[in-house]
Amino acid sequence: MSDDAVDSTRASGQPSGPFLLRCGPGEAILRLDDHLARGGFEPVRKALAMDPDAVTDEVKRASLRGRGGAGFPAGVKWGFIPKDSPKPKYLVVNADEGEPGTFKDRYFLERDPFPLLEGVIIASYAIRANVSYIYIRGEFVRQIGIVEDAIRQLYDRGFLGRNVLGTGFSLDVYVHPGAGAYICGEESALLESIEGKPGRPRNRPPFPAQVGLFGCPTIINNVETIACVPLVLRHGADAFLKMGVPGDGGPKIYCVSGHVKRPGLYEAPMGTNLKTLIYEYAGGTLGDRPILGVIPGGSSTPVLTADEIDVAMDFNSVRAKGSMLGSAATVVFTEGTCPVSVLVRITRFYAHESCGQCTPCREGTGWLERVVESIEHGTGRPGDCDLLLSAAGQILGNTICALGDAAAMPVQSFVTKFRADFERHIAEGRCPYSRA
C-alpha cells in the first residue's frame, strides 16, 4: 500500500506535515516511549492545564469538522453536553470503519494508536467524561489487540486511570468490540450496540449529547476526528484552521481506491482538488484509461462523472457539486467498467446492512437490489430506470437514520448519470460489457 503522507507545508510560518500519517511505509509506533520521544503527550499536558470549556472553545475555533462523514463541527458538538447534568458523561469513539471505500481509521488502530488515545484523553477532559469506549469493528481482531496494548501502557505510566498525570482528572478507556453490522457506524445504533442490543438507530431528539449511552450525556466522534484533537492543542486553533479551508480546518486523510496506479491513504490539506488526489498522489488511472466515474466520499455518496471531478475535497465544495465529502473515500473506475455492475455491489451492500427497522429502507433497499441485479443480468424491463428513481425517492428522507439515504443516493446518481448504460442493458437483455 502506498501511504506516503504528502507534505502539506504551505505558507511560511505554518507548521509542516505530515500531521496525521506520520508513520512511513511499513513503520508503526506502538511503544509509548517511541511516541513520547516524538513529543507525544505535550497536547494532553497543555489541555489538562486549561479549563475544560476553554479546550472545547479551542476545538470550536479550529473548525474541526467530523471526519466520520457528516462533517459536523466537533467543538460545537462537545458544547451540547449539558453543564448542569449530574449524570456521568461518556466519550465514545466510533472505530466501526465500514463505509465501503474507507480504510483510514485502520491506520491509527494498527500503526499509530497513541495520537488517537491522546485525543480521547483531551476530549474526555473537555466534556467532563470519566469513561470512554472505543467501539472497534469486530473484524479488526489484531487492531483491537494493538489498541488494548497501547491502553495498558498508558495505565502503567499514569496517563490513564485515577488522577491522570497528577491533575485530579480520572479517565478509564475501554475497547468495545463490534460484531459485524455496518449500521453500528451510525452513532445511535452504535450506542444501542454498546448497551447489548441490536444496532437499531434511535429517533432524535433527544440527541446523544443529552440522552446517549446508558441514558447519559454522550459525545460520539470518529477516530480521525479524535486523532486531530491533539493537533489543535499542539499547533493552536489558528494554525489548525489554516491547514484547511475557511470553516473546515486541518489536514485530511484521503482514501483512494479502485482503478488507480497507487491506491492508498494520502494526507493533504482539507480542500485538496480531487483531480490532484487521483492524478498526482495516486499516480493516475490504471493503464492511463479515461475515468468513467468517481465515488468521492464512500459508497453512499453520489457518483461524479469525469467532467465533474475538478472539485476541492472539503465538505462544502463537494456538496456544491451535488455529492458529499463523506469519509473522503474516493473510489475511481475507468471506462470499460460496467456502471450497472458497480451499482449492483452498492445496492447489495445496503440491502444486506439495512437494520430492518423502517419500512421504506427495509423494503426499499431490497427492491433497489433486485431491480439493479435484474438489469445487470439481462432481465430488466422497460421502465425499470424510472422504477429505481421512484423507489429511491421514496426512501430518501423517510427513515430514522441516514442508511436509507445512503442506499438511495447512489441509485439516483448512477441511474441519472449513466442512464444510457442502464437502458442498453434492458434493451439488449444482457450486460453489454460482459465478454461472455
Binding site: 500500500m1 481482531v141 468495545h176 468490540p177 463490534g178 447489548g196 481506491s257 473515500a329 458497480v342 455491489r345
Partner: protein, 174 residues
C-alpha cells in the same frame, strides 16, 4: 456436555464486567468470547451466555441474531472471508472468489468435507487500498492474487498438519 469458558476466557469475561454500569452491556463482548471459544453460537452457547449474565435467553438470541460475526453455524478451522464490495470488485475480487470456490470445491456459506476450510463472501473489510482482500480467521491477506491464494492455502494445510489446537476464527476477543 455443559459448555463453559476455558480459564483464559473466564478471566477475560470477569474483566469485562466492571467496564459497564450493567451486565447487559457486556453481552456483545461476551458473545464474541463465546463465539471464539465454542466455534459458533449454538443454542446451548447462547443459553450459557444468558445464564452467565443473568439475561433472558430470548434477549441474547435477539441480539446475537443481529450480528453477522456472531455465527449461528459451524465454520471451518480456517474461515475464509472474501470481500465482494465495490473497491475489491474493481480490483478482481470475483476472480479471486471463483478461484477459491474452484480449488476448495465449495461455495459461499459452505465447509469443506474435511472441516478445514469454509468460505464466505463478506462486505467491506476496510482494505480498499490493498484490494482485493480476504480475511482468514483473525488475519487479513491483502493485494491477493490466485497465486497468492494457492500459497496461502498450502501454508494453512501445513499448519493444520503441524498442530491440532487451533480453533475456528471469529470475531475479536476484547
Amino acid at each position: 456436555m455443559a459448555l463453559r469458558f476455558c480459564p483464559d476466557n473466564e478471566a477475560r469475561f470477569q474483566a469485562l464486567l466492571p467496564r459497564y454500569p450493567n451486565r447487559r452491556a457486556a453481552l456483545i463482548p461476551t458473545l464474541v468470547l463465546a463465539n471464539r471459544e465454542f466455534g459458533y453460537l449454538s443454542r446451548e452457547a447462547m443459553e450459557y451466555v444468558a445464564s452467565r449474565l443473568g439475561l433472558p435467553e430470548s434477549y441474547v438470541l435477539n441480539t446475537a441474531t443481529f450480528y453477522t460475526l456472531l455465527r449461528k453455524h459451524p465454520v471451518g478451522r480456517f474461515h475464509i472471508q472474501v470481500c465482494v464490495n465495490v473497491s475489491c470488485y474493481l480490483r478482481g475480487a470475483d476472480h479471486l472468489a471463483d478461484h477459491l470456490k474452484r480449488v476448495l470445491g465449495i461455495g459461499f456459506g459452505e465447509v469443506t468435507p474435511d472441516g478445514l476450510f469454509s468460505l464466505e463472501g463478506v462486505q467491506c473489510l476496510a482494505s480498499c487500498g490493498t484490494a482485493p482482500a480476504i480475511q482468514v480467521n483473525d488475519d487479513y491477506h491483502e493485494e491477493m492474487t490466485p497465486e497468492k491464494v494457492d500459497r496461502l492455502l498450502d501454508a494453512l494445510r501445513r499448519q493444520a498438519l503441524g498442530s491440532g489446537g487451533d480453533r475456528p476464527g471469529t470475531g475479536g476477543v476484547p
